[in-house]
Symmetry: C2
Subunit: 362 residues, 2 copies
């Protein structure tokens, strides 16, 4: 993981003598801990890792996770009793004059613990960490591909799984089970399994509504594979496709294709969003695309950046985003089509590959 640490230091606008990543109680664990240690298993609540300018690192954890932490190959200090934590932290920071912290994933409480353990100047390096994490290396891309592949294979099976009369949450249960049977360790986020007019709410999760003929079914889900996440959306029609449903689907698909065609290194993320937005704005569904086009994805489902009018980002090879235009008609329903892509030297590569060329009826 030395390269990852070097990549962080290389991007810093201000030198620091060390960067400390400190976890609190779940869910307030900094995903950067896994990024720089390469660890996959373990919770590491209250643990910390100090990363140094020379690419070395050392872990502070509890004796309960010592064995797991050692799998990183890094030096590990194991705390037996919580009273020892403060002394161990002081000792870890003793030679540091200026220390970086990741304010976007550090609790204020953990920040205060760091402040109480050192006289060093504390500098927020969260923007740099986010930038470094935005550009994935090959090992990360391989895991994202596997996470994408698991979700895609499940998406392709869904028309055979869904039947009229099933409840939304039952479909969500099938999705999660099918992903785990294929090697996922969890859901990347709470699955959206919506139907009928619920599909018009972009952030709906699932309810006990019964799926029936005439509905859209919108499934937005992802797999966790070795801590990396995928995120895919497919929309289906139940009991035949109406003309309006088909026009919505074609518009969204065309919007996604227009966005994908823009993706290559050097392009402004806003332009990618705009390419999709223009397709929808010039259609009968003007005004019905109500969110950003996509978000960076990796160790977190929202990994720090995005393709949207409010985010400044220039695409670089290795960046991974969702591309997910949608059209939402309150009271009627919604269509969203979402894939994950990695920016390559010449354009992009899809990390999800489930079928989408037409609105399928189930």
């Amino acid at each position: 993981m030395k390269t990852r640490i070097h990549n962080i230091y290389k991007r810093l606008s201000e030198d620091v003598d060390g960067i400390i990543i400190m976890n609190s109680t779940k869910p307030h664990v900094d995903m950067t801990f896994y990024y720089v240690t390469g660890l996959i298993h373990g919770e590491y609540e209250g643990s910390a890792v100090l990363i140094n300018p020379d690419g070395t690192a050392e872990i502070l954890t509890s004796v309960l996770e010592e064995e797991s932490a050692c799998k990183s190959g890094l030096p590990v200090t194991a705390i037996k009793k919580s009273e020892e934590r403060e002394e161990c932290l002081k000792d870890m920071l003793k030679d540091i004059k200026k220390i970086g912290v990741n304010s976007s994933e550090l609790t204020y409480s953990a920040y205060k613990k760091i402040k109480d353990s050192t006289d060093a100047e504390i500098v927020d390096v969260s923007d740099t960490i986010s930038e470094a994490r935005n550009v994935k290396d090959q090992e990360e891309i391989d895991r994202l591909k596997e996470a994408g592949d698991i979700a895609s294979r499940v998406a392709d099976k869904m028309p055979d799984v869904i039947e009229e009369g099933m409840k939304e949450y039952e479909v969500a249960a099938e999705i999660s089970y099918m992903m785990k049977r294929r090697g996922a360790t969890g859901d990347a986020f709470e699955t959206i399994s919506s139907s009928g007019r619920n599909t018009a709410e972009p952030h709906f999760t699932s309810s006990d509504r019964v799926i029936k003929s005439g509905d859209f079914v919108l499934l937005d889900f992802g797999a966790v594979y070795k801590r990396y996440r995928s995120d895919i959306t497919r929309t289906f029609a139940v009991g035949g496709v109406t003309g309006k449903q088909e026009r919505m689907y074609k518009t969204v698909l065309e919007a996604q294709e227009a966005a994908l065609a823009m993706i290559e290194p050097g392009v402004d993320g806003k332009e990618v969003h705009n390419a999709a937005a223009e397709v929808i704005e010039s259609s009968e569904f003007k005004g019905k695309f109500t969110h950003g086009l996509g978000h960076s994805i990796g160790l977190s489902v929202h990994d720090g950046s995005g393709l949207s009018p409010s985010v400044d980002i220039v695409l670089e090879p290795g960046m991974v985003f969702t591309v997910e235009p949608g059209v939402y008609l309150p009271g009627f329903g919604g269509v969203r089509i979402e894939d994950d892509i990695v920016v390559t030297e010449k354009g992009y590569e899809l990390l999800t590959n489930a079928s989408k060329k037409e609105l399928r009826s189930i």
Copy 2:
């Protein structure tokens, strides 16, 4: 949710004019947001809620989640563009001279945003919030019971589900599926489905190891029901029970019973831990109980407190804890038995009720 807000203010050692709960990007969302708003659905990344001494509250969220947020019955300000966030926050805080924050679930980055939006004195009220959340009200207990019941029913089915030759992660997939089919919206945490010598690692999750005769199988999992979590552990033997396995199981069960017998209002949490520890320390498995007896559980799986030698807590009615002694023999295997309880006026009530009176062979 007025009562919850009043409960927080009542416990404060220092008056404040308002308390702001502010979320960052997932997973860094403050569970207190759900506690004080009563909301169940929605992600509320970057959202905030201001709670006032008179029990009123107001929500700041994005336009995408406005509809969901309104279900709380609280006044909602919806931000259309991220540039508006700062102004809205300033406006929300404009009459406040002294403001409380929850440092244990607030990112340092969100803290800085609050600081930049107000001249008010900022006070850390995280201890008070944790104390208030530790004592559950009836609605919370009802949800915890349902979460406990879902997990218990699945635990009781496991001897029929597990077969020699299955892989650990396949068992984890079955557990998750069965909980979701019974109404869980998710796993309370990554399921521990360990077998053989893996059971000796308390924090092991699952691997592709094949379950075989002679193994212990240790299953530690929980359901999420309306945002509240359960956490249960049951240990089984595969292909018959050896004498040593049975002695381990009996010791752990006896330790759990000793701890449960201690639970009533006014008791020091350390004593509950010690009651279990003494049983194990006076057995042939001395020194093999290597963790705290239990943790508070609620909206988070580790909800802020615990039954352990390092935590100062006096039991009150409404507190909810796991009680989970274990014995771990490296190279051989481990046994843990875990249930969730709520402290009542006279003692305790079990929230999980899966069978455990003997080590079952599968």
